[in-house]
Symmetry: C2
């Protein structure tokens, strides 16, 4: 019988402090144009009552929620062990330092109706959104293209409706990887791709293919992966079975490279003497292979942090820059190629 179950309201605070709602409100927010006594009385009342402003009511009038969303339309929870997404999270967090904005992470749920996340985003729960790891069928581009909610994509969206995004030059990355293998003397070079419903995977494949064709080699040793260790291993299995003469592999993620290396080593191939391997990401996994993986640095944190900065600007009303910001991946030396 200690009190009512309902939360105290601004009215309660005002009454307890012996001031008006307006004064209480001012004391709670800016604190400007409030007498010290009033301020103290309000602070005291807040503490006594355990008052917390009702954000629904507040955002109804301010049209601000004080939070932004990170949208990860990744259907499978296992993907959440991916270092790439860890980097994404870190990038956003980093850009939010000192902003007082809350981060709300939206992940896809398996059962969810297709429009779910988009509806949530557009119904005024957040002030803006960073979208990462999106797939072709998400159709998030369509659903968010009306510009009603500030959005920035991490990685070029499929349907480019002038949506702001930041990206890393994945074509250049794929090309650099292939060129490294060519430079090591490899002549039978395969690639293990990421999910082909993601632009990053397609771009890395394109870069790899271009380099091989320019070198006069066939670019047909392609196996689908899914950015996971297991997927990389399966892909390597298939490649090895069909093309035992392979002497070089570009895996479009370090996790897949890890799986591929396990399969190669289990098959008795020496790395890099028999088969050279180049990965992609340099987000930690490359340091745990033996030998240490030669890979390309994917500047995820910088990329996402830049994306978030653009978003914050947009939330403030500043238009996003016309040209997307594109970072460049650079080779990280290891012992596998």
């Amino acid at each position: 019988m200690t009190g009512p179950q309902t939360s105290p309201t601004l009215d309660d605070v005002a009454r307890a402090a012996g001031v008006s709602r307006s004064t209480a409100s001012r004391a709670i927010n800016g604190g400007s144009r409030v007498s010290p006594e009033a301020q103290a009385a309000v602070d005291d009342a807040i503490a006594r009552l355990g008052y917390a402003p009702n954000r629904a009511a507040r955002s109804l009038v301010t049209r601000r929620t004080g939070s932004i969303a990170l949208v990860v339309p990744e259907p499978d929870a296992r993907i959440l062990t991916d270092p790439f997404l860890a980097g994404v999270l870190r990038g956003v967090s980093q850009a939010l330092v000192g902003t007082d904005l809350q981060l709300v992470l939206l992940i896809a749920r398996p059962d969810e109706r297709p429009g779910g996340p988009a509806r949530y985003l557009r119904s005024g729960h957040v002030d803006g959104a960073v979208v990462a790891s999106h797939h072709r069928e998400d159709r998030l581009e369509d659903q968010l293209a009306d510009g009603r909610l500030p959005v920035v994509f991490v990685g070029r969206p499929f349907d480019d409706r002038n949506l702001p995004y930041v990206d890393v030059d994945n074509v250049a990355g794929g090309r650099t990887a292939a060129e490294r293998l060519l430079g090591r003397g490899c002549r039978s070079i395969a690639t293990i791709t990421g999910p082909l419903d993601m632009t990053a995977a397609l771009d890395r494949l394109d870069g790899w293919r271009a380099a091989l064709e320019e070198a006069g080699l066939a670019a047909d040793l392609v196996a689908d992966g899914d950015f996971t260790v297991e997927g990389g291993a399966r892909a390597m299995d298939r490649l090895l079975a069909e093309h035992p003469q392979i002497d070089g592999v570009f895996a479009a993620s370090d996790l897949m490279a890890t799986g591929a290396m396990q399969v190669l080593q289990a098959a008795g191939r020496r790395i890099p003497e028999d088969v050279a391997v180049v990965g992609y990401d340099a987000l930690g996994a490359a340091e745990r292979t033996s030998p240490r993986l030669t890979t390309l640095r994917n500047p995820v944190v910088e990329m996402v942090s830049a994306a978030t900065a653009v978003l914050l600007d947009a939330v403030e009303g500043h238009p996003a820059p016309a040209a997307p910001r594109i970072l460049v991946p650079e080779l990280v030396e290891g012992g596998t190629a």
Copy 2:
């Protein structure tokens, strides 16, 4: 010049459909007591205008937000790399199937003021919260104990104020691990603990200690870890340097066991012949070591899914059960002990 930047409101929909706000509202929600024509007109208007209800306004009157929070007061980097947290996420998702509730993931940010998450939770943004991976200094218990917001903890909270929680019997788990090592003939048994500001880590340590003392052995080979691969490796380094006679290790997580195994193998110790190892979790990492890790199954998904079910009941107004639900970890055979 296609239209206003502001979102359409219920009023706009009603006007476009030629009905009143009430009718439009009814059509949007239950759909009961609405004529087919009115319903059709409203549906049409919604589609044409791209209307999405303003949740702030709605929740202001319904006192429901339609979303629940998963609170993980864990520094950003770890959350998406740790299989335990991936399991937590999966557990919540699973329990939310068919509910129409949105999941909002709240993670700690380094710069954040201590009370941040709690304030967010209590300010009416969500209907309830599942708290996982909480630490002693989070003080979330205090801040949420007033019962204003339905909350369920995953893992026994430090300050048990009759807060509802589900847990796994970590004492039993630590005991089982130690007994396995004893049964294998180990006499110099160490443990690598989790962060000691978490009840799960303390409990596993207690169980391990009890078993050793009952066997008449000293329980003093203890090294702090942090549930990560690197932390496990560092801890094993220390243990090995100070106590080279070690012949058994219980690592309180499989990730730490992985790191420990790497150090042991690098030091030339054979597993399990020279040193036996038991891990904890069985969430995937144990299958990737060589030899495969002997470990204890941590039923995270079940546990979290149960916690979420309790929370959903609480949100509906049903009180949480008096006694917490405690699951039991069971041994998973591997080749390391």
